[in-house]
Symmetry: C2
Subunit: 505 residues, 2 copies
């Protein structure tokens, strides 16, 4: 039976069209957003070679050459082939060589069951140093005040319609965040509220005069006080936008394929920032309690935003779609009858008389995992998708997608965490078949089987979560112990321990 | 001291310009929305006569004639004058004559301290019978199935820039709700899911054929199931919109002045629907626990919706406003400097270089009670305001205001309520100076002083809440026991007991 599944899946994969060949995406943001002296990029796992035995067609070689997995997996060419095997679906984790990810983070991933040619999830885990661009006042930086900032960074990127966007985001998004934070290095370390206004020309003659610095003191009484935290949130939000703009600029030259959901965690100065754009999910499991740290952005959860946009900008619907929602497709013979509908202002339903334009396809349709924008895409936030168009049409879908994340903040200093308190990040491959409560139960079960100070326990937990969502091959599919189908999607999981960041560095 | 306050307030009131005279707003919705046979409207409290002693100028008489208080207060001309007295600010409640409001609802109100000429709050409490318009299938109604529906209704309307909109809404909004429910009478009483599609021509030959009724059974497998509850929500949402459209149509002929916030409760078939558009608030206090039943819609809470609209439709900003938010007004001398800002996509703040168009006035500015849209209005949802324009400009503000409420549903059957469990509705005059917890404490204190079956306890509670928010005249103002200023606004409160609706009818 296992062999039959493997053979069926292998056939499916080998018969699927290879994506068009493309050069590797550029490694650095362009001049406007790149740091002047970016540290050299650590090499990724080597690109996989074409399958065993002799010369594969050049087209396949090129396509495969574009495939990569996260650097920290340290995959050999053979390991990369195994990670790319839809039939075996071996769970991948960083090697247990004594050198752990920051904070002893656990990670595991598995490729899909044939849904796409490669694993379109990508992941990144980095410690990023931010050197201040200049002093707040514009004065040359004094050496004594020159301490930069460090942030810890984790990112999961779930690609669709190609792996290019996810791969690019996994390499560059944290650099965009670093760029945004450069101006804030001093401000964030100053206990005073952030200045509302900064001088224009850093380092220019006279600009070191601190009287030019319009601080809260000198302003109108009606000014708002802005927190340090909200500056970090704003930096992350703008970094997402700049990443998306970079993809738009470079999509022609480098063929940034498709788009990706992005779920990102930044730890900075005692606080955890969880930024989510898409349908991945983050939860904290703390002393058995579940604390949601993100919500999903889908055609269902963002229905009203999408409908409002279609209503305000009907030209975006191209005469092909209606911004109204109906509980099912309206049929021509129903013209003049009254059908239930919702518009952009409604959460309830009401009846309306069917008119000719109601026969257009609805902008938002379907339920759950089948919900779609313009009958095409099932997530409404993320990066990329600049070329995405409605099937058999030239109508662009990107205007309805948002690259902006929702950022939630968790103050690590407000609670004394134990080694079993973790932040779990997963792509939808995990959450489609695993509830928050099941994850919390697995956290309890796996971590209690390890010594609290055993750093490998978090990787074991990530592996258990991935295995629990993948299942085992049985009865023509990957099945869970309850015999329901496991996830056939790519599955990627980070487990970030909250109980002692200070002890890891 | 009291006299000095009274005299100062009286002077303020008498010196304020009287609103332009206008005929009383029409009593019924127009032909398209009015029921064919609306029951005659119960007479309101008689209009107040002009002040004591002889012939007041005709202008004043006409202006006063337009002033009314809720019918259920049963105010005599003298009572109406007292209710209209800014100096005394006597708390008004229905007379204790043994005939109580439905459900023994408690009510109290007090006029403002001179903020506007009259009390611009209005209230309504009704039992509304809905006769079905036709059978679902379009067939003539069988007598046996002809039972209509009854709903209980409470409404608070906080007017601004005139009392016309609040007064009109208090007379007509429940009728719009009734109209919307007429088509649903049979559907809501049928345990089957609502049909997605209804025939077009009720009562037409052949339309009684139930095969024309496209029910869930015969539809595509991908149809959504719509609940009865969501139909009621949709009916209330559409009733708000139709009420607003009626105000727009009739604003010229009948001078519907200003606008109003609307907070409405509908009890129907075991469920309480709380619909809020504006900055009034509803909470349930149940066994001492606070359950929020609404949220406020203000320039702060709706910042991103407003900014998005200004961004997508810049013509609505008329070149006078910028959709960007700044923590304070940008000054011309700051051109080229970098200031904190937020756009429609951001919850955090970031720095941007000040450009010429950033010198425009921000669409949203200010904080808390001082927050304003276009420097003019402090609420972002409600009814009316069709004539509202930016001060010293012709730019209309209405496009930024929404007439749609947020509707929350509370299932009364899911919990066994005791006589001390209440739903409290209040205009912002209450909530500006009273926290939810303080209200809950007053609920406990007042109700425990009365027998559980004493129906006057809820009016006593409403009075205590209004008095607690108004305070007493002391030190040149209305002050609370802690010496802070009480609310100088109109204050209106409903207290709806949840512990035994079945026993009142």
């Amino acid at each position: 039976m296992l062999n039959r599944v493997r053979s069926a899946v292998a056939h499916l994969v080998s018969s699927g069209g290879a994506p068009p060949s493309r050069p590797k995406s550029p490694d650095l943001p362009n001049a406007t957003s790149a740091p002047p002296a970016a540290p050299p990029q650590a090499p990724r796992s080597p690109p996989a070679r074409a399958g065993s035995g002799g010369a594969a067609p050049a087209r396949t070689v090129e396509a495969r050459a574009s495939f990569s997995r996260p650097t920290f997996l340290q995959l050999s060419p053979g390991g990369l082939r195994r990670a790319d095997d839809h039939a075996g679906r071996a769970v991948q984790s960083p090697p247990d060589t004594g050198r752990h990810l920051p904070w002893s983070t656990g990670y595991a991933e598995v490729i899909n069951a044939g849904k796409s040619r490669h694993n379109e999830d990508q992941a990144c885990c980095e410690v990023v140093y931010v050197e201040g661009r200049r002093s707040v006042s514009g004065a040359p930086r004094e050496p004594s005040r020159g301490q930069g900032l460090c942030f810890y960074y984790w990112g999961l990127f779930d690609g669709h319609a190609g792996g290019g966007a996810a791969e690019m985001a996994s390499r560059l998004l944290h650099r965009h965040i670093r760029e945004q934070l450069k101006d804030l290095v001093e401000i964030l370390q100053d206990p005073l509220p952030p200045p509302l206004c900064l001088p224009s020309t850093p380092g220019a003659p006279g600009s070191s005069d601190s009287s030019q610095l319009v601080g809260p003191q000198s302003c109108w009484s009606s000014q708002k006080e802005v927190t340090h935290e909200s500056l970090v949130v704003g930096a992350i939000e703008n970094a997402f936008q700049l990443m998306d703009e970079q993809m738009a600029r470079e999509r022609r030259g480098h063929q940034v394929e498709g788009g990706c959901c992005a779920l990102v965690v930044v730890y900075l100065l005692g606080k955890v920032y969880v930024a989510n754009a898409g349908d991945s999910r983050a939860i904290i499991v703390r002393n058995g309690e579940i604390i949601p740290m993100s919500r999903e952005f889908t055609p269902e959860t963002e229905r009203q935003r999408l409908q409002l946009l279609g209503f305000l900008k009907p030209e975006l619907l191209g005469g092909e779609f209606t911004h109204l929602e109906f509980p099912r497709r309206v049929q021509p013979k129903e013209l003049g009858q009254r059908m239930l509908y919702r518009d952009q202002n409604m959460t309830g339903w009401a009846y309306k008389k069917i008119e000719l334009e109601d026969l257009r396809f609805p902008l938002v349709c379907g339920e759950g995992k089948k919900a779609r924008v313009m009958a095409t895409i099932g997530v409404t936030r993320g990066l990329g998708d600049h070329n995405l168009r409605v099937c058999s049409s030239t109508l662009p879908i990107k205007p309805f997608l948002s690259c902006f994340p929702e950022v939630r903040v968790y103050d690590l200093t407000q609670y004394e965490h134990c080694p079993d308190d973790v932040l779990v990040l997963g792509t939808d491959g995990l959450w489609d078949v695993t509830s928050d409560c099941e994850v919390a139960a697995t956290v309890d079960r796996v971590l209690s089987a390890y010594e609290p100070n055993d750093p490998s326990r978090y990787t074991a937990l990530a592996q258990a979560l991935v295995l629990g969502a993948r299942g085992t091959p049985r009865d023509r599919g990957w099945r869970l112990p309850n015999n329901k189908l496991g996830s056939g999607d790519d599955i990627s999981v980070f487990v970030i321990p909250l109980g002692g960041p200070g002890s890891y560095s």
